[in-house]
């Protein structure tokens, strides 16, 4: 992917470090990561459990604060932002997709998708309207009033993707989004990510499955908190 000269990278890290203190010992979960991800990229972050890939994604998602180093999101240095500004970034610029979907029980698909719009300060009519549109785009127009318990795993993950998209973010952060799904459903979900990426949304995908990573354009491999490989995906898979 060619980066235009004057456009800042969407994600830019410089010497990013995240330490944990466990039992009196320092664990460098992320240990000096410098990389940049441009708008419109589809990146798979790979690594074994404990490699630091999830910690890195939590930092990029502003869910966690780095111990050292810098993280710039869409040109803004996150170190200078307070917790309210970070909440705003999570709300407007980032959409999260989790392995366990993390939908609210006893809450309909429509209301689940509308949650981020509450924090964006939208009125209830507009929230419902936008949530309905986004769910319809996910092919769930007949499931609006279903609670998560009445939806299949694939449908739940599509509700979760709709929720991530409803605020029209710049990027999706997906942490093992297919980890709880069967092969066919996984392929469908990856197809959705590819479509969204084609529409211009940056997708950052954390996975430990090599074949899931093949849907991306670029593969970054983490080991012991460091980037050990950062290469384009040569034989890219296309879903469906």
């Amino acid at each position: 992917m060619q980066i235009p000269v004057n456009e800042p990278a969407l994600v830019e890290t410089n010497g990013l470090v995240k330490d944990y203190f466990i039992g009196g010992e320092v664990l460098h979960a992320v240990n000096g990561v410098s990389l940049s991800i441009a708008r419109g990229e589809f990146v798979a972050i790979m690594g074994t459990s404990g490699s630091g890939k999830s910690t890195f994604m939590n930092l990029v998602g502003c869910l966690d604060v780095p111990t050292a180093g810098t993280l710039k999101l869409d040109g803004a240095d996150t170190r200078t932002l307070d917790s309210n500004a970070l909440a705003d970034i999570r709300n407007r610029k980032i959409g999260f997709v989790f392995q366990q979907f993390n939908l609210l029980n006893r809450t309909t698909a429509l209301d689940n998708v509308a949650v981020p719009l509450i924090y964006a300060g939208l009125g209830s009519r507009e929230r419902r309207e936008r949530a309905r549109e986004t769910l319809t785009a996910m092919g769930l127009e007949n499931r609006l009033d279903h609670t998560p318990a009445k939806l299949s795993g694939g449908q739940q993950q599509r509700v979760a993707i709709a929720r991530a998209l409803v605020t029209k973010p710049l990027m999706l952060l997906a942490d093992e989004p297919t980890g709880a799904l069967d092969t066919q459903t996984s392929e469908d979900i990856m197809g959705i990510f590819q479509q969204l990426n084609d529409q211009g949304i940056t997708v950052i995908l954390v996975t430990h499955e090599p074949d899931i990573a093949e849907y991306a354009q670029r593969r970054i491999l983490f080991r012991d908190g460091r980037v050990v490989e950062d290469v384009p995906v040569t034989k890219r898979r296309a879903a469906g």
Binding site: D64, R106, V115
Partner: protein, 417 residues
């Protein structure tokens, strides 16, 4: 703040109400139990206020049974509580007439002698407090007869052996028969019953109908007690004032007249005591206000316990829903959004409890009014107070758990199981 921003603020809070109801329904039993705690607290506070209001009401009613706007003059020195029996005081009939003549606003006077009366008729006995009065007593104290007639001017002139019975005495002696015209022996002297008073009920357990009235002249002739110093001394004098007369200046004027008549020197205490119904009202108002505050303070303890219940349940709720908090933060909730969500949840619990407490209090209050000789009214003011009070309890006791929730780190909350 412009109107748009205000409606925006309200909408931002209102968003949390359905979230709160969903959360409270999830743990329905727990929510109900917590609500009952608040309900009992609010119920007891409202009832305490209502009992206080009822006490005020019955005090002012019992003062009104005396007669609404009047002064009482007693023949003992006004030493402000520290009574010294050595200086005995006096109030005489001539004092009464002087007051009637020279104090403005007096519409009538009721000079009185008191005596314990032992009455018997056909083997039935009754003992009561007797008042020797003039017809003025009826006008000043606002009493009239139910049967027969009142003590008349002619009765006074002739020192007639005529007696007017209070309803309680009439019932004791005549057991339902019409006593008017019947003979009755009073302290072994034969009297004729000329009338029966209308009932004035009771106040604070004291029966206002347990008395008998005789002409003041008869009382002086036949039952005069040793405490009287002269032939026209009185045990007490009621002075009735027109409606709207301020009894403060009136009391000053009466004091001036009586001091002059008794030739009291500058710096000497009054050989009489004047109390007005206005003073009774003010003093008993203070007493009932203290009583009410005391009751409310005691009742507030149960509300405090209810509030601690709220705090406990909200802490449990925050702990159970840490993951949800993390998720909401990931979706863009600020700390203040999370705080408000839990505050609204606590306030909803409390307001429901408050409403239930209010309904029960209103039911109990109307039952008391119906079946007991006491009213404990629950007014609109009390209702509004109760709702605001319980919402405040919710905000106070829900505050700590809510703030704790708002300070969670997104990633720690999201990772919690």
């Amino acid at each position: 703040m412009n109107p748009r921003a205000i409606t925006g603020r309200i909408a931002a809070w209102a968003v949390n109400v359905p979230i709160a109801f969903t959360a409270l329904r999830t743990n329905l039993m727990r929510s109900i139990l917590t609500t009952i705690g608040i309900m009992i607290g609010v119920l007891s506070v409202i009832l305490a206020v209502a009992v206080g209001e009822g006490a005020k009401l019955s005090v002012s009613q019992s003062i009104n049974t005396l007669g609404s706007n009047m002064a009482l003059v007693f023949p003992f020195p006004d030493t402000d509580g520290a009574r010294n029996t050595a200086d005995s005081g006096r109030v005489t009939m001539r004092d009464a007439i002087a007051i009637q003549k020279s104090v403005p606003g007096v519409f009538d006077i009721a000079p009185q002698l008191t005596a314990n009366l032992q009455m018997s008729v056909a083997g039935r006995n009754a003992s009561t407090s007797g008042l020797g009065i003039t017809p003025g007593y009826g006008r000043v104290s606002n009493v009239d007869t139910e049967l027969g007639r009142f003590i008349s001017e002619a009765d006074i002139q002739t020192a007639a052996r005529a007696i007017v019975l209070g309803p309680t005495v009439a019932r004791k002696l005549f057991a339902g028969f019409d006593p008017v015209g019947q003979d009755v022996r009073v302290n072994k002297v034969p009297f004729t019953v000329v009338g029966v008073l209308e009932s004035k009920g009771s106040s604070f357990g004291r029966d206002n109908d347990d008395l008998a009235l005789i002409p003041i002249t008869t009382a002086r002739q036949r039952f005069a007690t040793a405490t009287l110093q002269g032939p026209d001394d009185l045990h007490v004098l009621f002075v009735g004032f027109d409606e709207g007369i301020d009894l403060g200046p009136a009391k000053k004027e009466m004091t001036r007249v009586l001091r002059e008549r008794n030739r009291v020197q500058e710096g000497q205490i009054n050989p009489f005591t004047i109390r007005t119904t206005q003073e009774f009202m003010e003093e008993s108002g203070k007493v009932t206000a203290i009583l009410q505050m005391l009751l409310v303070a005691i009742a507030s303890i149960s509300l405090l316990v209810g509030g601690i219940g709220i705090m406990n349940i909200m802490l449990v709720s925050v702990t159970e829903r840490t993951r949800e908090i993390g998720l909401r933060m990931a979706l863009g909730a600020k700390g203040s959004d999370i705080r408000n969500q839990f505050l609204v949840e606590a306030a909803v619990l409390c307001v429901i409890g408050g409403l239930m407490g209010l309904i029960f209090a209103a039911l109990i209050s109307s039952a008391v009014q119906k079946y007991a000789d006491f009213s404990a009214p629950v007014g609109v003011g009390t209702a509004i107070f109760a709702i605001l009070f319980s919402a405040t309890i919710g905000l106070i006791f829900g505050g700590y758990p809510a703030i704790r929730a708002s300070r969670l780190s997104p990633i720690d909350a999201l990772r919690s199981e």
